[in-house]
Each structure stands twice: as C-alpha cells, then as structure tokens.
C-alpha cells in the first residue's frame, strides 16, 4: 500500500477492482464501512462476479476476467477526453511534460524493439530525449507531440467506451457511470482510494494492470494524499514482510536486486542502481544504493566483507535468468533440480497445473517440508483416490517432514499491507516436536557450514564466512534478527556536516537509514527496516494509538517503513507551493522553514518549495511516471492483451495482429503453450478466488472454518446452468486442457452473462481452499485446472483468467 488500512476511512470514493476486500480482507474492509458511514464515501466495485464487496457497494459493474487494462485504459481516455484531470498535479508531479525519443512507437499493439523469437523487448527506444547536460527535455505546456501527455492521449484514444464494452463486456452505460463517479475526485479536495489484490496481480499482464490503476490515480491527483493511493491488499499475513526482506529469487532485502551475469564488477552493479537525477535538483534517493548495499554485505559477512574484496561482492550469485517458482518447477520437471526445501509453502495446492507440479516433485531425490500442517505437498506421493490419483510405488522421492510453529506460537514482527511492522508475542507453546523456523534453519545451516569447513568444496567462503553472531547459534532469537535488520554502527558514525558530532557510537543501533554509510562503518540487514529497533528499543512494539489529527495517523502505534512514514509520496498532498490540497486532510505542509504535519515528510525536510524538488523521491525524474522508459519488460505503457486462454479467438483491440493476442513479452515454457485451451473445446472464461470463510489451504484443517464452508463448489450463472441442464446443488465436472475437477454447482444471479465482441461469454467461478488433507470434505485441487504461465514482469501465475468447459457430472 502507498497508504494504510486506517487511512481508507478518509476516502471520498473507494474503487475495489482486482480484489474483493469484503471477502478476502474482512477486517480491513471495516475501513470502507467507516468511510461510507462517517465520510459519505461511495463504494464502486468492478468484478467479473457480484461479490461480497459488490453487495456492500453503491455501484457495481461487471467485467470479463483478464480485461482490466481495457477498462482502466477506457477510464484514462474518459478522463483526458472530458478534461477530468487534476491539472496542476499532473503537470508538476508526473512525467506528462517529458519528451520521449523520436524513435518510440507502438503499432498494432506491439511496442518498438520487439524480438519475436526471444519474446523480449529492447527498451532503448522508449527513452526520454535528453539535453546536453543529460537531463530529460520537458515541455511545460504539454503540447509537444512527443511529450508523454500527448503520447498517452493518442495511445488511449483507442480505448473508447464502445471498445471497453466490446472487450470487457461491461455495458457502456455502466462503464460511463463508473467513470463519472471516479472523475468526481479530479477535484483537488476530493480523493479516491483504489483497493486491489491478486485479481490484478495474477495475470500474464498483472503488473501492467496495476500500473494502469496507478496512472488513473495520478491523472486524478490521488497519490500521496490521505484517503488516496494505490493500495495492494496483501494476501497472507506477512507476505509484505517476505517481499520486504527479499525472499523473491531475484531480490535482496529492501528491494535491492541480485546482480546479473553481466555485472561481474561491483562498479557496474552499483552504477546501474544508484540512479543519477534526470532533472535538476531531484533527490533520486536510490543514489544512496551503495550505502544500503555495503551495509547489507556487512550484515551478512561482517569482517569478511572489506573494501579490498569489494565488500564480498563475489559471494553473491550472478543470475543468468530468473529463478522464480515457475522456473524452479520447470527445471524440476526437466530433472535439473533434484532436491527441494519447501518451507511454509504448499505448491501442489498453490501452484498452477497440479499434474505438472506433482510430476516435478515425483522426479526429486529428496523433498524437505517445513510446515505446521500436513500439507498436500507433503503427501503428494499418496493415492487419495480421484483427488490425487498417483501410484506411490512409482515415486522414489524421499520426503522429510519437519513440523514448524505457526505465528501464534512465536514472538516476532508481522508487516501488514500498510507497511506497519507490528511486534507480537507468543500466545501458546508449539505442540509436540514443532520447532520455530529460525531454529530449523540454524540447525541446517550450522551442519552445512561444518561440512564446508571440513571438506571445503569449490567455493566455501560465502558459507564459512557468514556472520552468525547469535547467543545461541542453534536458535537465533527474533529480537537478535530484528536488531540485525534495523542495523548498527560498527565504528563511530559522524555527521557529514560536522565530523566532531557523533551520530551513533560503535556498537549502537542506528537511528535510521540516513545514518548508513558505504565505507563499512555500518551494518544493516534490510535498509527499509532501519529504525525499527533503535537505541531507544523496539519501535515495532509501540502501542500508543493516539490520533492527534483525527485522520488515523497514529505515528506511535508500531512502526512503518520507511522511517515510520505512514503515507508514501506525502509531499504530493500539498500543492507545489507547499499548501495542502485539502486542509481537512493535511499530511505535510511547508511551514516557511521546513516540512511538517501529521506524517513523516517524504521529502528533504528543508527543501524549499521553490527549489522544485519533486515528491517522488525514489525516481530519477523526481516525478511519477505515466510513461515508463525502463523497468517494465512488456512496454512503457499498459496495453490490453487477452489472457493466454481466452473465450475470444482474437484480441478485439488489435484483431489483425496475432502477435498482440496475449502478452508478447510473457515467458512461456516449451510444452505449456501447447497446453493452452482453445475456445472451441473450452468456451467458458474461468477464474479462481478465495472465500471469506477460509484462509488459503490452511483453514480446511480447522473444524469451525470447515463448518462455515464445508465443501468445494463452483459458481455459474443461471443462463449457462439452464443451457447445460445444471440445477443448484448438482454435481458438475469442470475441465481445462490440464485436468478436471468434480464438484457441486452453485447456480447464481451473481454471475451474469456478458457479451464480448458480439459473442455471449459465460464465466465460471472456482473457489480454491479444498484438497485431500484436513477436516473439511475432500475436494479436488482447484489448480488442477490453471495454466502454467506468469506475469511478464513478476512471473506471478495467471490464476485469474483461463478457460474451461463444464458439464453435469
């Protein structure tokens, strides 16, 4: 989230799209009911199904699965065509005025620089035009034909209300009604929040869907304001913490990235990441990357990381390609990975194309499961009748199950969607032989280290030199780990302006990332968490919910990254002169001497407004990017592509260009392309989702949750049901090109027939949650049906749009 849960109560309009907050985030949804009750907010829901959120809405519009970019692109077109943008904000705080190279173009849905054989773009022609000083050329009037404003006007002029209806199946009147409600927030004193979740993330063009939402918010001037923002509702407790700490395969903690193969030298690695400002006077905060990176290397390798060995840069692996979960299972399936440590993860249930996942696990030599529950993955080799029809005698994988604790059985911090690190305390002792994850990992690590110390090997240094300073080497405590993430001074850290002034003495915790240095005098495990545990103690354990400004800015409750800032880009909540757009929802303002208000300013505190320092301090431009010259692999602007499995034969936006049917830059493995179903055999658009009664595949192990939703089902509309002779409660068989499930049909008015490209489209809703383990009624794994392809940028699987057939069983 750019904002936080409590802040949603400040919204005037709430758009829930690409998510179903009432269903999947019932506790957070409270803030929507608060906004409605106490702020007269209007709730708009756009979803393929009339969801629990829709039931709470002031207006609902249906949409076909996987077509959100068309819908949002249509909104952009509406806002521009009807002059419903926040002009001053767009001009000062976005790159609308930036001029793009003459070589940039987009034709028939394909951007320049495309290599069809590699399914990859070369983005060199998406760059800005630069002046002689290396700064981007801008046209303040935004009239230059190659400035971003004009480019997006042209690009989205194709996304007419009629085109939206054709692609999305949303009736034109309903689409326009949504546009009108949203457009009311282009006024500086009105604001909209967007709440989205995996309904946007889990598509082959998921990252671009989210970007389109952000573009709408930028045009309306809704980013950085209380009650505004782009708010990703995280789907697991502490999945925010997972990404913050760099558990994705290409990341290091704090959104630093692993080097690529071409970056063998630290200078090359740092130069690419410490972005030089693209406009005068901009902070371009990533210029501090070397400080965060060196401090991180010191946290991992301590004394072994020296200036002489480039802070142990050689210890880091250099990626030849991404090693995301899809890639890992592909390699496992090919027999190239033969051992797998599976910690807190249930891929048999949670990953697409169950047959392929089980096939891959069957080729392993060993599989280690670290989990509090007896997951499907831990018993993938057992025959559970039709639900898991395998032959155990043919599977040689040795499975080792290490029971771990669950969150309530340990101390530690959880990071919520709003970036708050909240410390929690153990509520119960773990059962039986269950051990905490750090204890299990420490046991494995110390034994592996002993082997390397004894037998050496090709390159033992990164393992044998790893810092392991914990009081009990077999069980690092949550407190020790938290202090390590926050960081400490290794030598006295002095004020750069006054070297006689010591900011942090050697051995002390640093106050925040501003005290980190790139000379090896500080260590910090995760720079964005720096300041969460200071000399004053554990900031995450604070529990003062005083709200002095009455807008939910409880700065003394827990601790938020970065720097306890609650709303990112909050400098943009004030106009260029430093006066809040809305005095009632003031976040920060220029006092004449400094920035101050109800939040920690996201700005250099003494940056005078006339210096023109932009509010988006992490970008080299200082402003937000409507057009993205680099950073997205599938284009500088979002463009609608069909899901890889679509009920339509062509992409109505670019019907003649087969290359632009589905995301041209998405990675597809050999064999998986052939497994995509075609509309003749699999005519119905399908999507998977959660129900509020359950949490993922966990709570089917819990009696009371199983009572509340005991058995698997699928949802279909009345028209499709009538055509197929399916009555409510009948048993049905749902098939995709990868497998089948048999389950109960819920026939509902809440899924209506829509018309896309002149064709009736029926949608099938498939809740996840059931499987062959637990106390709920046994069911098929929903991901038996889903395709093995991910988002071009993140490789998040396309769980939210595929095709099926359905028959009465």
């Amino acid at each position: 989230m750019t904002n936080h849960w409590t802040d949603i109560k400040n919204a005037d309009v709430v758009l829930i799209m690409g998510g179903n907050a009432a269903e999947a985030h019932p506790c957070g949804f409270k803030w929507v009911t608060e906004a409605k009750h106490h702020n007269k907010a209007k709730l708009v829901v756009v979803d393929p199904r009339f969801t629990r959120s829709a039931a709470m809405s002031d207006y609902y519009a249906p949409i076909r699965v996987g077509t959100d970019i068309a819908f949002l692109g249509g909104i952009i077109n509406y806002l521009l065509a009807n002059d419903k943008i926040q002009h001053e904000y767009v001009k000062a705080y976005t790159n609308a005025s930036f001029v793009v190279n003459a070589s940039y173009k987009c034709e028939d849905g394909i951007f320049c620089g495309y290599d069809e054989a590699k399914r990859k773009y070369d983005n060199k022609d998406w760059a800005y035009e630069l002046d002689k000083d290396g700064f981007a050329v801008v046209d303040e009037t935004m009239q230059h034909e190659r400035c971003v404003m004009q480019i997006i006007k042209r690009h989205y002029s194709r996304y007419t209300p009629e085109m939206v209806e054709t692609i999305c199946g949303t009736p034109k009147a309903a689409f326009l009604k949504v546009c009108e409600m949203i457009a009311t927030t282009s006024r500086p004193d009105r604001v909209m929040t967007i709440m989205y979740a995996l309904g946007w993330t889990q598509h082959s063009q998921g990252s671009q869907m989210i970007r389109t939402g952000a573009m709408v918010q930028l045009l309306l001037g809704n980013i950085g304001l209380a009650g505004g923002g782009m708010n990703a509702l995280r789907g697991h407790s502490n999945i925010q913490g997972l990404t913050d700490l760099g558990l994705l395969s290409n990341l290091l903690p704090g959104y630093m990235t692993l080097p690529g193969q071409s970056e063998q030298k630290i200078e090359d690695y740092l130069a690419k990441r410490a972005l030089k400002p693209l406009r005068p006077n901009q902070m371009s905060y990533w210029q501090n990357y070397p400080k965060f990176f060196v401090s991180f290397q010191k946290a991992w390798w301590g004394k072994a990381a020296t200036a002489e060995n480039q802070w142990a840069y050689d210890y880091l692996p250099k990626l030849d390609k991404g090693y995301d979960v899809l890639q890992a299972f592909e390699m496992m399936h090919q027999g190239k990975i033969n051992g797998y440590l599976c910690q807190g993860f249930n891929p048999v249930a949670s990953f697409p194309n169950k047959a392929k996942i089980v096939g891959a696990l069957s080729k392993l030599k060993f599989l280690v499961i670290i989990d509090p529950l007896a997951t499907e993955t831990s018993e993938f080799w057992q025959n559970f009748g039709p639900y898991n029809d395998v032959k155990p005698e043919e599977i040689q994988t040795e499975v080792l199950r290490l029971p771990s604790t669950c969150f309530a059985e340990e101390d530690g911090s959880l990071t919520n969607s709003g970036r708050w690190l909240q410390w929690h305390w153990k509520g119960a002792e773990p059962p039986g032989e269950a051990k905490a994850d750090p204890e299990i990992m420490a046991e494995i690590f110390t034994r592996v280290r002993a082997l390397y110390q004894k037998d050496q090997g090709a390159f033992p240094d990164p393992i044998v030199n790893l810092t392991w300073p914990y009081r009990n080497p077999k069980f690092p405590s949550p407190e020790e780990l938290a202090m390590e993430f926050s960081g400490k001074a290794l030598a006295d850290v002095t004020d750069p302006k006054d070297p006689t002034k010591v900011l942090a003495k050697a051995g002390e915790q640093v106050a925040g990332f501003a005290q980190l240095r790139d000379d090896g005098s500080t260590s910090c495990g995760c720079w964005i968490y720096s300041g969460s545990w200071t000399q004053a103690g554990n900031q995450m354990a604070r529990r003062d919910n005083a709200d002095p400004f009455g807008i939910g800015q409880t700065l003394n409750w827990a601790w938020a990254w970065p720097a306890n800032r609650r709303i990112l880009y909050n400098r943009a909540s004030a106009d260029p002169a430093g006066k809040p757009w809305n005095a009632k929802r003031k976040l920060v303002a220029w006092t004449g001497e400094k920035w101050a208000g109800s939040d920690i300013p996201d700005m250099r505190p003494d940056a005078k407004p006339e210096e023109g320092v932009g509010p988006f301090i992490m970008t080299a431009e200082g402003v937000a990017k409507l057009f993205v010259p680099s950073g997205m692999v599938d284009g500088p602007l979002p463009e609608h592509y069909e899901p890889f499995e679509s009920p339509l034969a062509t992409n109505p936006l670019n019907p003649k260009n087969a290359k632009a049917f589905a995301n041209p830059a998405a990675r597809v493995f050999k064999g998986d392309m052939e497994q995509f179903g075609k509309p003749d055999k699999f005519p119905y658009a399908a999507t998977t989702y959660r129900l509020t009664e359950h949490f993922h595949y966990w709570t089917k192990h819990v009696h009371d949750n199983a009572v509340a939703q005991p058995q698997q089902f699928v949802e279909i509309g009345e028209e499709l049901a009538a055509a197929k002779g399916i009555r409510n409660g009948d048993k049905v068989r749902v098939t995709s090109n990868r497998g089948k499930i048999e389950t109960v049909a819920v026939v509902t008015k809440r899924i209506r027939t829509i018309t896309c490209d002149g064709k009736k489209v029926f949608q099938v809703g498939i809740p996840i949650h059931w499987g062959f383990k637990g106390v709920a009624q046994r069911g098929y794994i929903a991901n038996t049906l889903t395709p093995f392809v991910g988002d071009a940028n993140t490789q998040t699987p396309e769980f939210k749009a595929f095709t099926v057939n359905i028959e009465k069983a």
């Binding site: 629990r52 039931a55 509020t692 009371d704 005991p710 819920v746």
Partner: protein
C-alpha cells in the same frame, strides 16, 4: 440457573411475581446493520467458540448458507438471498445477507408458551434465556416463536437458542458475535442508544437512494432486543423470509390467557399418568434405546 447476577423480569410457567424493587436496569439491544454485513460468518464461529458448541461439518447444497439452518449447536446462521430490485427500467441485483438468530422479543412467545417453570426467563435488561436444566423438551417454545428460532437437541431433548451471551453481558461485556464482527455491522448497547444509531444509519441509506430503509423492531412482539437496519424495511420478507409483522400466535395467547387453568389441569393429568406408568412399569430404559440405535 446459571446467571444469578442478572435480575429477572419474568419466568415461564410461574405464578409468583418476579422481584421488582430494583427499577434502574437499562434495557439492552443488539443492532445488526445489514448494510454493513458481509456475511463472513465470523459471528457464527465466535458464537460456537464462546458457547462451546460443535456443529457437524456438512455439505454444500448450492448456497453459501452453512450450516444450512439453526440447530442446537448453531445459534446464529447467515442467510443469503439474491434479490433483483426494480429500478426504473432496470433490475438492480442485491445480495442480501441476514444474520439470523433469536430476536429476544420484549413479549416473548416462547416464554409464554413454555409449560416448564423457569425453563425460559426474561431478564430485566430484556434478554430472553433458556435454562436447559428446567427444560422438558416439549417444543412449545418453537410453536410460540414467531421467528422459528429454538431447536430441540436430538441428544438431550432440550431446547437451545442464542442467549445474547447473557453470561458476558452480566459482567459488562458485549456478546461474542458483536466483539468479533470485523466490519462493525453488529453493535451492542442500551436499546435507546441502538435506536439512535439505527436512525443515523437510516439517514445515510436514504441519502444513498434506499428510500425505504428503516429499523426493524416489530411492535407485534413488543419490540425486540435484537434489531436490524434494513435497506428495504418495507419488505422484510426479502431477507430470507424475515416476517413483516410477527406476533405471538393466537393459540399461545390463548394458552397464556383463558385456557391456561384447563391446560394446567391437562398437564397435571399427564404427569399423573406418567407417575402411574412409572409405578407400574418402572423407569424407561434409556440404555436399551441406545443399544438399539447402535445395532441399527
């Protein structure tokens, strides 16, 4: 009788008057704002956890309603209704979700109908509570209830229903469902405060275009201590058959009124019959019945 701390207002099948000296007891109410309820069933789970109830794991029958109905182990259930409301030319779909359970009537039909002394009580704060140790399992409370709420357990032949967590309320806590509701759809307080809150919510709903929004506090049962804010207060039946104008059945009123002495006479005769049966045959062999069940 588990709850001596709450003052009684009335007791079933009891002719002696309840204590009346204390007059400063505030009437309580639970307000369920249906316009804020997402049907998450957290209240169902909280209810079973607090009251030590364990429902069976059922099946899906083509709806989100689970458990499908109130039982002796499910004192509250969510009822989902898909309704198409006419809006000019167009039909607007609504998914109405109502938390069903005991309404705690001011004029409780169950209590009136109950022949077992003290099996049903009404506290001075308005809560209507069942005392299973006094219940004879006759089922008259079901006949007496205009909302079809009480359920007789197969296990012990006693009637069960929501107690409005009278044990929690007696020590100044809100009912478990109120405590757990994530969206603020359920509130608890004095009946007066809840009526005021409902008014505020109705104003908001009317502004949003629900012209017939209103409070459900039906007069036919003297008002209730569980009330709903409804978007369509003119058509309560839309909400899974919530009665438009509930009242205590005529037969129950009759029983409570003129026919009661006669009925008591009948009861007395039945008890006498029972006694004679016992003297002649001896106690019923419950174990034998159990064995028969197991054998089948």
């Amino acid at each position: 009788m588990g709850l001596q701390t709450l003052d009684l207002k009335q007791r079933s099948a009891t002719t002696t008057p309840s204590p009346q000296a204390k007059s400063n007891v505030t009437e309580v109410a639970k307000l369920i704002d249906v316009s804020k309820c997402i049907g998450c069933k957290a209240c169902q789970v909280a209810c079973s956890e607090w009251n030590d109830l364990k429902e069976e794991i059922g099946f899906n029958h083509g709806t989100y309603d689970n458990p499908r109905d109130l039982t002796e182990n499910s004192w509250t259930v969510m009822r989902f209704s898909e309704v198409e409301m006419k809006e000019g030319e167009e039909a607007r779909l609504e998914w109405l979700i109502r938390k069903d359970g005991c309404m705690h009537c001011a004029d409780p039909g169950c209590l009136k109908a109950c022949p077992a002394p003290g099996a049903i009580v009404q506290y001075a704060n308005g809560i209507v509570d069942f005392n299973q140790e006094s219940c004879i399992g006759c089922g008259n409370c079901i006949t007496g209830c205009p909302f079809n709420v009480p359920r007789i357990s197969q296990k012990d032949s006693k009637a069960y229903k929501c107690s409005l967590c009278s044990d929690r309320v007696s020590v100044g806590l809100e009912p478990a469902c109120v405590k757990t509701c994530p969206t603020g759809a359920i509130s608890f307080g004095s009946k007066e405060d809840m009526t005021d809150l409902a008014e505020e919510r109705v104003v908001d709903l009317v502004e949003r275009g629900y012209k017939t929004a209103g409070l459900y506090d039906p007069k036919g049962v003297g008002g209730t201590h569980v009330m709903y804010v409804l978007k369509h207060a003119d058509q309560p039946m839309l909400y899974a058959g919530l009665p438009a104008d509930p009242s205590v059945a005529f037969s129950v009123e009759l029983w409570k009124g003129g026919l009661k002495p006669l009925a008591l006479l009948g009861m007395g005769a039945a008890m006498l019959g029972g006694l004679l049966h016992y003297l002649k045959v001896g106690p019923n062999d419950a174990d034998a019945e159990e064995k028969e069940k197991e054998a089948s």
